[in-house]
Each structure stands twice: as C-alpha cells, then as structure tokens.
Amino acid sequence: MVGVGFRREFAGEMISGEHIRPDFIEFAPENWMNIGGYWKKVLHQVVEKYPVLCHGLSLSIGSPEELNREFLQYIKTFLNEYKVQLYSEHLSYSKCDNAHMYDLLPIPFRMDAVKHISTRIQQVQDYLQRPLVMEIVSYYTPVAAEMSEVDFIKEVVKQSGCQLLLDVNNIYVNAFNHQYDAKAFIQQLPLNKVAYIHMAGHEQVAPDLIIDTHGEPIIDPVYDLFEWTLQHLQPVPVLLERDFNIPEMAELQGELSRLKSICHKQWKLKDELVA
C-alpha cells in the first residue's frame, strides 16, 4: 500500500480520484479534530473513499511534563470515529514548560530520557488500546547526547514495546547532517518493529546541512536508500509526504507510482524467495 498525506490544497482531486489515486491517506488528527462546516463534510467524503492512517503532531512524547489526558481522550475518540488503522507520532518533543512549540525538538540521547519516554509510550498505548508507531525524526544538532542515536532508538523500542515509523528521508537527512552511513544506521535498527514508512523531499540550505521540508520532490538517492531498505523489511504501508510547494497532481501521482513500483519489485521478489 502506498498512500499520500491528505491536505486541504488537493482535497478535491483526492475525492474525485481522477488525477491521483493513493491506496490510503494519512492526516494529523490535530488538524481535523473538533472541526465542523465545509471541511468536516470533505473529511467524511475522503474517509469514505480511502483507508485512513493518522500521524499525530502534538502528543509530544518527549516532554518533561505530564501527558495531556484531555488531548489523549480526544485522540482516542477521533481514531475510533474515523476507524483509523494506524496511529503514529514523533520521537521528539514539541511542548515544554506548558508551552506548545508546534515543531519537533530533539530529545537528548540519554538513558534517563529513554526511561521517561518509554513509560509515556506505554501509558499512551495502554490508554489508546493500540500500538504507538514512533517516527525517527530528522534533527539538526544533537543535544547533550550520552549515547548514540541508534542506541537511543533501540532502547526506546525495547523498553516501551512501540513500533517504528521509518522515514527514509529523515535517515538520509540525518546521515548527511551528522556524517554517518545511512545504511549502517538502518541495519542496526530493530527492523522487525518497522510498521510504517514515510518518504519525502528536503532542501539543502548549506553545504553541510539539509532541512527536512516536505516541500520538494523526493531525490534519487533517497529513492535508492528506500529501495535498499525494502530489501530488509516485511511489507508495510508507505506514505508520500508533501506539505509545501504542492505540485500538479500528475507529479505527485508520478512519485506515488514510482514508490509503488519499487515496493512491488522488492517485496514481490522477497515473497518469491520465501516461497
């Protein structure tokens, strides 16, 4: 299954299905909860047409403070109401000192943070009665790290029992920004825990820095890394993210088709080998 991030900018095209036809859609509950009027009607139309996965923004699993129970209650209701098949979030924090930041801040790679986050993930999973799929986020600087990024992630997965969202572009971005080998990094991950893949474009803003913008087409080296990655994974849903500089639907459909073709090639081959 290859899906696309649902955005208001191309809601009409998604509903008509004329120029773009993903296998599923993904959206952030925070952008659609407690909404009425025109967009609620649109949301109902699109969820009638496509299976839905949700990717949250405001859980802030890495926050030092308590989880927001009221927010979790809304999330639970929303996920059930729209029959959401998978709920993912970010391995980062976006709220601190009781203030939302609306962006993904990097968590210090430390063992106490691992324990803190793992406890919170378990609390969320228990409350929602579903597994939480945590995205490995892109980051531009490590912060007071006492362990490697990959060890940090492995420990969180081990201690919390969460699943992973592998954003292949994020791994490419991080490998570039922090000068490590993306394939070696991926190989060290608990790949049997990967439940979902994201793919997106990025922007290089300095000779040594890439920002994860979701505003450009996916570049070939990221497609290559994606194809290599699939060889090490069981089939999982794959999502194309495009949040800015929205192109013509034909271009997005072209990216979807390319992703689908790679999935088909790699996972079909794997099935044949298993058989």
Binding site: M33, G37, W39, P64, A99, M101, D112, H116, A144, L209
Partner: protein
C-alpha cells in the same frame, strides 16, 4: 518522572531558546545548527498569525507586527494543541496586554476579534439547530436562528473599512453578525444597527418579535412607525440568507 534534573533543564533551555531566540549554551549543540530551530519554530508561529489575521498583517507596519509576534511567542505559553486555534490566544494576549495603546493602534482589538471570529465560525464544530418549521407567525412564534454564528460589537468598523486612517476617523458603535452558511460552509457577515443587534440577541434567547418590539421605547427608539415593518423585512431577508432558519415547532 524518570528524567534527571539535568536532562529536564537541557530540554527547558532548548525550548526557551526556540521561543525567545536569546542565546544559550547547551552541551554538544552546534550554535549554527541551533538557530535553524528558532527560525523554523518562529516561522510557523508567524505564518499562522499572518494566515489568521491577513488584514491586520497588511495594515500594521512590519516592524510592529514582528515585535507583536515575538512578544507573544516569547512570553505566552501556547496552550492549544491545535495550531489553528492559536490565533485566539494571540488576540487574547493583545487584549490583556493593552496592545491598542502600546502599539498606538486603537482599532487593533476590534480587528483581531473580527478576523478571529471569521476563522472560528468557519471551523467551529457543527451545532444542531432546534427543530423548526418553515411557516409561522413572524410576530408571535419564536424564531429559530442558525446557531453557527457570532454577534460582535466594535468601536471601529473593521468589518466595513480596511484603511487605518478611515478606521480612526470612524470611531463609534458598530455591530456585526457573522454566521456560517449551512450549505456552502462559507462565513457571511452583515453590519447591524444597534436595534437589529438587540433584536438578534433577544431572538437567540427565544423571545418573540412582538415582545422585543414592545421593548423598543425603553431603548429610546421613539420613531416606531415603521419599526415593525423594517424589522420583519430584515428577518425575511435573513431567512433568505439562511440565518433565520424558521419558526419554532
């Protein structure tokens, strides 16, 4: 909580930097990389406010606008986990901190209130109207109004005029009704006289038009010859506009 105080403090310092842009030293953090977090976070807040308050953004000099957004984000702990609701906090912050005087923009509160109301009414959760019929007695049957509305009062006609100089010359008492069209979902707004604003407010409470008309002399409305007919004409017009839905059944 499993976090050690040191880790907690590092996270606080990092996020405080994102909010204020005031330089910090954090172990292992490259300053030239850190600045991108401030840029990305601040741009998100600024873009949200620009999108929510397009007229204010256009009218207010860029330096003032920038100072407002920085002030707000640095000192206010944003509470909404839905970013589209954040402009309400910006508006509230402006009122609480008397920005009208501080920035010498006497119409600012009215303008922010109007622009936020448009966004709020457009996005607000659906509200089911009371049961109604399409025919009834305009004077004696309580009317059912479209519940997806806001009635606002202003000192400056921000719903009618855009140019700051014109606004400043037009200080007075203004009322505006915003409502969401049940079919298109678009937000419509209409300027109301003080009488029609009073009428609308009372109709919401379920009071009949006749009882409201009886109250007119107490509002110092002395020229009542055409008041009833004008009032009914307005209500019939608003029925065509899908604000008056019908008669209580």
């Amino acid at each position: 909580m499993n976090l050690l105080p040191d880790t907690y403090h590092i996270q606080q310092t990092f996020s405080a930097y994102c909010r204020t842009g005031e330089s910090v030293t954090l172990p292992g953090v490259a300053p030239d990389r850190l600045k991108h977090y401030r840029r990305l976070v601040f741009n998100m807040i600024n873009d949200t406010m620009e999108g929510a308050f397009p007229i204010a953004f256009k009218n207010i000099p860029a330096r003032k606008w920038n100072r407002m957004v920085k002030d707000f984000f640095s000192h206010h702990a944003c509470q909404s986990y839905q970013v589209w609701k954040l402009p309400l906090e910006f508006y509230t912050y402006a009122v609480e901190h008397n920005w009208e005087d501080e920035y010498q923009l006497p119409y600012l509160n009215d303008l922010l209130a109007f622009e936020w109301a448009e966004m709020e009414v457009y996005n607000m959760e659906d509200i089911t109207a009371d049961a109604y019929t399409l025919t009834g007695d305009w004077l004696d049957t309580p009317l059912v109004l479209n519940p997806e509305h806001r009635l606002l009062s202003f000192s400056y006609p921000v719903h009618l005029l855009a140019k700051p100089k014109e606004l400043l010359r037009s200080k007075g008492v203004y009322f505006v009704l915003l409502y969401r069209h049940p079919e298109t979902g678009n937000v419509e707004f209409t300027d109301l006289s003080p009488w029609l604003a009073f009428l609308t407010e009372q109709l919401v409470l379920g009071i009949t038009v006749r009882d409201i008309l009886d109250y007119a002399p107490q509002l110092n409305i002395t020229e009542t010859d055409t008041l009833e007919q004008d009032t009914l004409d307005f209500l019939k017009h608003m029925q065509q506009q899908h604000f008056v839905l019908g008669f209580q059944s």
